[in-house]
């Protein structure tokens, strides 16, 4: 069985699915990703499906599961590069990929993750400012 490689780029894990996956490969990817998120502490996962010429309910379910797992592990998942024919077919199939964020391409996906991380970062700044220890030293 082949494995789908998971690349780490900065704070993001990039998965580019290049092959017609067997169901086992998809399940393996699910596991691999969960492990890598924890091991790297990354906060973003981009799954590039540009090369996939179909997404059936099994792969659809895998994508939803990955999104849900990464959310629990404090990482945001964005699925990018879905082909028009695949999207049209998914709509007909009745698969809505609830809970998954999507973007047109890897670049847009990275922007999306960056934007949502910024919102979290703002919180971090606010917390720093509200830090009583710091407040004490500055007065």
């Amino acid at each position: 069985m082949e494995r789908v490689p998971v690349l780490k780029i900065g704070d993001i894990l990039l998965v580019s699915i290049q092959l017609d996956m067997e169901d086992q490969t998809a399940l393996q990817l699910q596991e691999d990703l969960a492990d890598r998120i924890v091991a790297t502490g990354c906060h973003g996962v981009i799954i590039d499906i540009t090369a996939l010429d179909i997404v059936d309910s099994f792969v659809g379910r895998m994508l939803s599961t990955i999104a849900a797992i990464s959310k629990v592990l404090d990482a945001e998942t964005v699925v990018v590069g879905m082909r028009p024919a695949v999207a049209i077919t998914l709509v007909e199939l009745g698969l809505s990929l609830n809970g998954i964020r999507t973007a047109l391409n890897v670049e847009r996906g990275m922007e999306l993750i960056a934007a949502s991380r910024e919102e979290t970062d703002d919180w971090a700044v606010d917390l720093d400012e509200a830090d009583p220890g710091q407040a004490a030293t500055s007065t």
Binding site: V78, V79, V80, M82, R83, P84, A85, A87, I88, L90, V91, E92, S96, L97, R101, T102, A103, L104, N105, E107, R108, G109, A115, E118, D122
Partner: protein
């Protein structure tokens, strides 16, 4: 129907010996039937080429139109038919260009005198020319069919342009009646354009659509959902009052899809979305 070898070489001789005269008379005769819609020079060169190709065919084994050495003749004939068809000449006007040769050959032959053998020859030549004429007719019809198919495709393209309105914003202004097939084509093209241009926003403007039935509305809705799956947002603009009534009467759920009164409103809406995003991000970076 085909010429025998002797007849072939006699016709070749006839065409070769009186080349200049035949080409001139031929061109003149065709010019009359086309009533000056092709220039004299162009006609001359067409006829000359035809004459030459016919000679080549006859001098080879081309006493049948389907023979190998008649390849060039067939090419010249179909090219002639094609150009006539594209320029709007009728089938008759096209075939006449070939049939005119009959009269010229008869003239030239009777000028040379002769009797019974000439008659038999002429019947044979005539049959060959008929073959050429029919071939022109076929090529003409084929060229016209291609023309019609091309135009149908162009029409579809014309009626379904996907235009870029702004960086990251594309629009399809839909005009005319949408049947299910056309709606499908438009929507597929829209989705492809989103990918090609990397635009996260699409505006579907239906100002020019007189009526929407359930099927077409379903196509539009499915496209919006498909675009979302791909990571793009669609806004529908220009919904006329009657169409709004139809949509409600048919019980079609537009759900949380953004709808705007006009294309301008839709663009403003999108720019506000992207503008606000960008401004907010810049503000953060500065702070």
């Amino acid at each position: 129907m085909a010429l025998d070898a002797a007849q072939g070489s006699r016709l070749a001789g006839l065409l070769g010996d009186h080349a200049e005269q035949i080409v001139k008379r031929w061109a003149d005769s065709v010019a009359v039937s086309l009533r000056g819609r092709l220039s004299q020079a162009e006609l001359q060169s067409q006829v000359r080429e035809l004459h030459r190709a016919l000679l080549v065919a006859l001098e080879g084994d081309g006493r049948e139109l389907h023979a190998e050495s008649a390849g060039e003749l067939r090419a010249v004939l179909s090219e002639l038919s094609r150009s006539r068809a594209r320029r709007g000449f009728t089938a008759t006007e096209t075939a006449v260009s070939v049939f005119a040769l009959k009269d010229i050959v008869l003239e030239t032959m009777s000028a040379g005198g002769g009797a019974e053998q000439n008659l038999r020859d002429f019947v044979a030549y005539s049959a060959l020319i008929d073959q050429l004429g029919l071939f022109t007719f076929e090529s003409y019809a084929k060229a016209r069919e291609e023309l019609i198919a091309d135009q149908a495709e162009q029409l579809l393209e014309l009626s379904t342009p996907v235009v870029k309105l702004w960086e990251g914003v594309v629009a399809v202004p839909l005009v005319g009646t949408l049947d299910s097939a056309r709606a499908q084509v438009v929507m597929e093209r829209l989705l492809q354009t989103l990918v090609d241009t990397g635009s996260p926003y699409a505006i579907i403007d239906i100002t020019g659509v007189p009526a929407v039935d359930t099927q077409v509305a379903q196509h539009i809705l499915k496209t919006v959902v498909a675009a979302r799956l791909m990571g793009a947002d669609c806004i529908i603009s220009g919904i006329r009052p009657q169409i709004a009534q139809t949509i409600v009467a048919l019980g079609i759920e537009f759900g949380d899809i953004a709808t705007k009164a006009s294309l301008a409103d839709a663009l403003r809406h999108v720019l506000k979305l992207t503008g606000v995003d960008a401004a907010r991000r810049n503000a953060r970076r500065e702070s």
